[in-house]
Structure formats: structure tokens, C-alpha cells
């Protein structure tokens, strides 16, 4: 199945993942430098999921995410510079400086929104799917959420409604084993969420979240089925974040160095790069070129953020209502 992917497709998956990685690394540096005033939850280590899923989506497909949404925004097509500018609080950011890390909006590319509250994205993706079904469109709704969201009532109510109305929605669980510092094994006796989805009548598939080709394949089938009226799917993607929950937070106490290192060894970007070079699809130089492109893109993004204007205080109450407050 991987071999059905063209070189271009494979490279664009690689490019997407690396773009997320380098942007997140830059945001971490910007945070440490004091240029990001609010929270900053990075996606480092989990890039394969956003890349593999969003490769199947167009701008009309609606993506909803949560507090760890940088990767989803970039994979869905938000320009690097708009993301960086947003975290810097600039008027040129994707949310015009109103949102920051946890409130990313680019409806024009189908990033319908990320939320600082855990749970709502599951329901909203289900609702977008409802609207698409009602309007006889073959678009899909996609929710990205973490293991911490699984124990929330929104998961239960959202999956049930998607199942009984056979809605075109993909639930993408990013099980990175922890909710902040609380282990999923502690907060759930049953961490096999794919099987739990079946309990609602939603097909559940366990996916290697660090293998972009596995994500790409399973997501492709789920999206295809949804577009054809086949209803929802849950992808139970097992993965890991290799940075702290949020920048500036401790990363000890709740997990071991060994555990972190063992997952770094399974880095999804290295893995794909090595594989493609090994099987002769590409040569190392192809990867170096991509690395350079992205390096430029990110550097340009930081400069853009730095030089962009602050939001005008006069706009404080704009857009509370559709026609003035």
C-alpha cells in the first residue's frame, strides 16, 4: 500500500512533518526568548498523525482541534508565518492576535478552530459532518484530540451521535500516553479506545501514530468511507510527545528519561527519511533540500512575526456579533 504512493506524495508527507517539527522547535526557542506571552503546547513527536490524515483533506473538509493544535493548523494549510505571528500576538496571525496557541482559526483553509477547552472539538467535528450530510456535500469533519479527551463526556456523546446518524466524521485520537502528567493507564482502565469505539457502533482502528504511512493508509480508508456515506471512523493513534506538556513546564516526575529516549528513537520523520533513502526512492540530497526550504520558511516566518504590527486596541470589541456589538 505504501508503494502506491508516488515520490511526490511521499516527499510531501515528509515535508509536512518536517515543517511542523522545525516550526515547533522555533516556537520553543521564541518562547524561551520571551517572545510568546501565552501558553505553547508543541506537537513534537506526533507529526505523522497530522500529516498522514490531512493529506486526504481539502479546504472544504473541516478540521477541529484542541490545545495542541499547531501541527494540525500547518498540515491543513495555515502558512508557517501566520502561525508564528499568532503566537507572537500580532495582527497578522491566523487569529489576528486574538487567540494565540490554543485558539487558531483559518476557516478559509478548513481549519475551523482549535479550542483551549478539552472536548468540544469532538462535538463540533460531528456537527460539521451533520451539516455536510444535510447539505448533501461529500466533505468530512475531522476531530483531533488527546487521550485525555477520551474520558470526557463529549467523547461519549459525540461518538454516539456520529454512529446513530452515520455522519461523515473521522475521530483522530492522539494517544500520547499522558494528559499533562496523568497517565492514560491511570485515568482509563481500558486504553484500547479502538475497541471502545466499536461499542458505539463506530469502526475503530489502532494505528501506529509514529508511522506516517500507516496513518496515511488508515486515514485514507476512513475518509473514503465517510465521503461515500459509510459513516464515522475512530483512528486510535498510539504516539508520544517528546517535549514537555507545554513550554516552560517541568518534564520529570511522571515519566522516565528512558521512556522519552525510547520514543525519540522511533522518530516518525527520521524513520520515513531513512526508509525512502534506503529503498532508493530518493537520495539524501532530496532531504537536505527540503530541510533548507523549511529552514528558510521558518526564518522568514519569525521575521514576519517580529516586524508585524500589534492589533489595534480600537478593534477590541470587533466581531462579537456579526453586525457590530
Amino acid at each position: 500500500m505504501p508503494n502506491t504512493l508516488s515520490k511526490e506524495q511521499l516527499l510531501s508527507l515528509y515535508r509536512c512533518m518536517l515543517t511542523i517539527r522545525r516550526t515547533e522547535e522555533q516556537l520553543a526557542r521564541s518562547y524561551q526568548a520571551g517572545h510568546i506571552p501565552g501558553a505553547c503546547h508543541t506537537y513534537v513527536g506526533e507529526e505523522a498523525i497530522a500529516a498522514g490524515v490531512c493529506a486526504h483533506l481539502g479546504h472544504e473538509d473541516a478540521v477541529f482541534s484542541t490545545h495542541r493544535g499547531h501541527g494540525h493548523a500547518l498540515a491543513k494549510g495555515v502558512p508557517v508565518r501566520e502561525l508564528i505571528a499568532e503566537l507572537h500576538g500580532k495582527a497578522t496571525g491566523c487569529s489576528q492576535g486574538r487567540g494565540g496557541s490554543m485558539h487558531l482559526f483559518s476557516p478559509e483553509v478548513g481549519l475551523m478552530g482549535t479550542s483551549g477547552i478539552v472536548g468540544p472539538c469532538i462535538l463540533q467535528a460531528t456537527g460539521a459532518a451533520y451539516a455536510f450530510q444535510l447539505r448533501n456535500l461529500d466533505h468530512v469533519g475531522v476531530a483531533f484530540f488527546g487521550d485525555g479527551g477520551v474520558n470526557n463526556g463529549a467523547f461519549h456523546e459525540g461518538l454516539n451521535m456520529a454512529a446513530i446518524w452515520q455522519l461523515p466524521v473521522i475521530f483522530v485520537l492522539e494517544d500520547n500516553r499522558y494528559a499533562t502528567e496523568v497517565a492514560f493507564e491511570y485515568s482509563s482502565r481500558n486504553t484500547n479506545v479502538a475497541s471502545r469505539a466499536e461499542g458505539y457502533g463506530v469502526p475503530g482502528i489502532t494505528v501506529d501514530g509514529n508511522n506516517v504511512l500507516d496513518v496515511y493508509r488508515t486515514a485514507g480508508e476512513a475518509v473514503k468511507r465517510a465521503r461515500k456515506g459509510g459513516g464515522p471512523t475512530l483512528l486510535d493513534c498510539k504516539t508520544y510527545r517528546t517535549r514537555p506538556h507545554a513550554e516552560g513546564m517541568r518534564d520529570g516526575g511522571y515519566r522516565s528519561m528512558e521512556e522519552i529516549e525510547s520514543w525519540k528513537a522511533r522518530d516518525p520523520i527520521d524513520a520515513l527519511g531513512k526508509q525512502l533513502v534506503a529503498d532508493g526512492t530518493i537520495v539524501q540530497n532530496d532531504l537536505d533540500c527540503i530541510e533548507n526550504e523549511i529552514k528558510f520558511l521558518v526564518g522568514e516566518g519569525v521575521e514576519y512575526a517580529r516586524t508585524s504590527p500589534w492589533p489595534d486596541p480600537a478593534t477590541l470589541t470587533d466581531h462579537i456579533f456579526s453586525h457590530g456589538a
Binding site: A62, H103, Q124, Y130, G153, N160, I320, F321, S322
Partner: protein, 325 residues
């Protein structure tokens, strides 16, 4: 002119708008074939079927979250809560998502969603079926809050709600549902933020909300025979609030009483009082008074329930007292 009941008038508004706009759909418990516990959708299921009149499981948070996403994806949801008390489990979706979505997305997303429900004390409904959260949604930014007091307003305001692009909380008092009133055949709407003055007077101004309007009109009628000229104002929407109509009246009368079944502390009357004493300080010949429902959970038994709500006599007495001040 023909007469309709309050609920018939509201249903006619819904039917007319659903006929014009195919993306309007209604969700709620028993609003499909059954036609709604309060007959809010009677007959519509036969016309528009299950996708547009969607019976839901008992998951208020879930279907409000679903409607949020549906509105973001181009549909126009109407949530029929039956009893408005049931919004409580959906509070997070309403306050953190629906109310903030247009703002967070800098106006790139619209939020055309109407949340309706029956409220109010009466009929021994007891404390889980007697609530009214109008002041809460007047306090928090992002909602239009509508409280019609008669069939004519119910239809005209509901049409405005259904045609607009903002979140609307549409509150229907249980004890008004079967009240009859003139409703023209011709199409019409009533803008938000425009108070009605169902009775003009010179001596004292009564601002009454929802069911308190007919009670205040009766009291005024009675006091007229005692030579007292009372002006009655019905704000119709408390967010936005038409303070100017109230100020003009107070300028004329110099005395203001606000009658509201809902709780007093941090209520609608408090807001009106605070604004009027600030903006019309020199117009006031006496302190502004408030007559509210008693600040207590709603009891079941008639002897207690009656004592919890302003009654015709207590209104008359409050007016007399204020005139004597």
C-alpha cells in the same frame, strides 16, 4: 385580525423560515414525529423529515456542541431544549464556544444558531423545570436574549432570530404558551433592542419582563381607576437592552419599578436600575425599585410556589408604595 396562541405564532415563524431556508434544522428530544413536548414543531416533521427535525438522545451538551460545528459548516441550527433548564449541561458549549466563536475567528465564522426553551415558574414544575437564565446570558457577552410577552412579538422576534447570524437565546414562558393575541397574516419581523410600550402613562414607569407584562398591565388598569397613570414598558430583548425608551419614560414619570419573575441579585432589574440612576440621576423623584421572584430554588407545592413569584396584588402594592415614596 386573526388570533393565534403564543406557541402557534412561534411555530408559524419557524415553519415560514424553514420553507425558505433549507439549511435550518431543529434538534431536540421529541421534536420529530412527536412535534415537541410543547408543540413547538407540530406538523413540521411530515414536511421536512428526520434530518431537519432531528430527535436526539438525552445529551444536551452533545447536541449543542454538534449544532455549534454545524453552524460553523454552513447550517442554521435551532436547538429546542423543551425546558430551558436543560441548557445547564450545555453551558460550556454555549459560553466558551458559541458565544465566542465569531470573536475568536475575527468574524470569519458566523454563528447563526437559535437556542429556544420554555421557562418560568408555574404549574408545580418544581426546581428542575422552572429556571430562567436570561440574566446570565445578558451578563456574558455573545448572546442575544429574547423574552417575548405575547404572540405578535413571539413571531416577529423569532423570525429575526432565524434570519440573523448571531447566537440567540429565545425564552418562552410556560404560562404564556397558550395565551392568544392578534397576529397579522402579512410577513413581519421585530428588530432586537427595541422595547414596546404597551401602555402609556405619566405618573410612574413599570418595566416588566415576559409574563410580568400582562400582570403589570392588569395592575395598571386597576390603578387607573384610582387615578394613577402608569406607563408599562416591555423590553422584549434584554440583550441588547433598549435603555433609551426606559430613560425617556423615566424623564416623564420620575419613578421606575422593574418587575421580573427572575432572581433579583445581579439580575435584569439591577442592570436597568444601575444604568438609569447613572444616566437619569436628576430625573428621579424617588429611588428605583425592583420586584423580583424570591431568591430561592423553586418549590413544588402551590402555597410555596405562589409565594415565590410576583402576584397581581404584590405588583399593585409595589406601585402604590413607590408612588408614596
Amino acid at each position: 385580525m386573526r388570533e393565534l396562541t403564543f406557541i402557534e405564532a412561534a411555530r408559524e415563524a419557524l415553519a415560514e423560515e424553514m420553507a425558505k431556508e433549507p439549511t435550518i434544522f431543529v434538534v431536540g428530544e421529541g421534536i420529530g414525529e412527536r412535534g415537541g413536548n410543547f408543540n413547538t414543531t407540530t406538523g413540521l416533521y411530515d414536511l421536512y423529515g428526520p434530518k431537519r427535525l432531528r430527535d436526539t438522545p438525552i445529551c444536551e451538551r452533545g447536541f449543542v456542541g454538534l449544532c455549534t460545528g454545524a453552524a460553523m459548516a454552513g447550517a442554521r441550527p435551532v436547538v429546542d431544549f423543551m425546558f430551558i433548564d436543560f441548557i445547564m449541561d450545555a453551558f460550556g458549549e454555549m459560553v466558551n464556544q458559541i458565544a465566542k466563536m465569531q470573536y475568536m475567528s475575527s468574524g470569519r465564522l458566523k454563528m447563526p444558531i437559535v437556542l429556544r426553551g420554555c421557562f418560568g415558574i408555574g404549574g408545580a414544575a418544581a426546581t428542575h423545570h422552572s429556571g430562567n437564565y436570561a440574566p446570565v446570558f445578558a451578563h456574558l457577552p455573545g448572546f442575544r436574549v429574547v423574552l417575548p410577552s405575547n404572540p405578535y412579538d413571539a413571531k416577529g422576534l423569532f423570525k429575526t432570530a432565524l434570519q440573523g447570524n448571531d447566537p440567540v437565546l429565545f425564552l418562552e414562558h410556560k404560562l404564556l404558551l397558550n395565551s392568544r393575541g392578534k397576529v397579522p397574516e402579512e410577513d413581519y419581523t421585530i428588530p432586537f433592542g427595541q422595547a414596546a410600550v404597551p401602555r402609556e402613562g405619566a405618573d410612574l414607569t413599570v418595566v416588566a419582563i415576559a409574563r410580568m407584562v400582562p400582570l403589570a398591565l392588569n395592575a395598571s388598569e386597576q390603578l387607573a381607576s384610582e387615578g394613577l397613570s402608569v406607563e408599562v414598558i416591555d423590553p422584549r430583548t434584554v440583550a441588547p437592552l433598549d435603555i433609551n425608551t426606559i430613560l425617556e419614560s423615566v424623564h416623564k414619570t420620575g419613578r421606575l419599578l422593574i418587575v421580573d419573575e427572575t432572581f433579583g441579585p445581579c439580575g435584569i432589574g439591577a442592570e436597568i436600575s444601575a444604568q438609569v440612576q447613572d444616566l437619569a440621576f436628576d430625573d428621579l423623584d424617588a429611588p428605583i425599585r425592583r420586584l423580583n421572584g424570591v431568591h430561592t430554588p423553586t418549590p413544588y407545592s402551590a402555597t410555596l410556589e405562589t409565594a415565590a413569584v410576583p402576584q397581581p396584588e404584590t405588583i399593585t402594592q409595589a406601585i402604590r408604595n413607590l408612588m408614596a415614596t
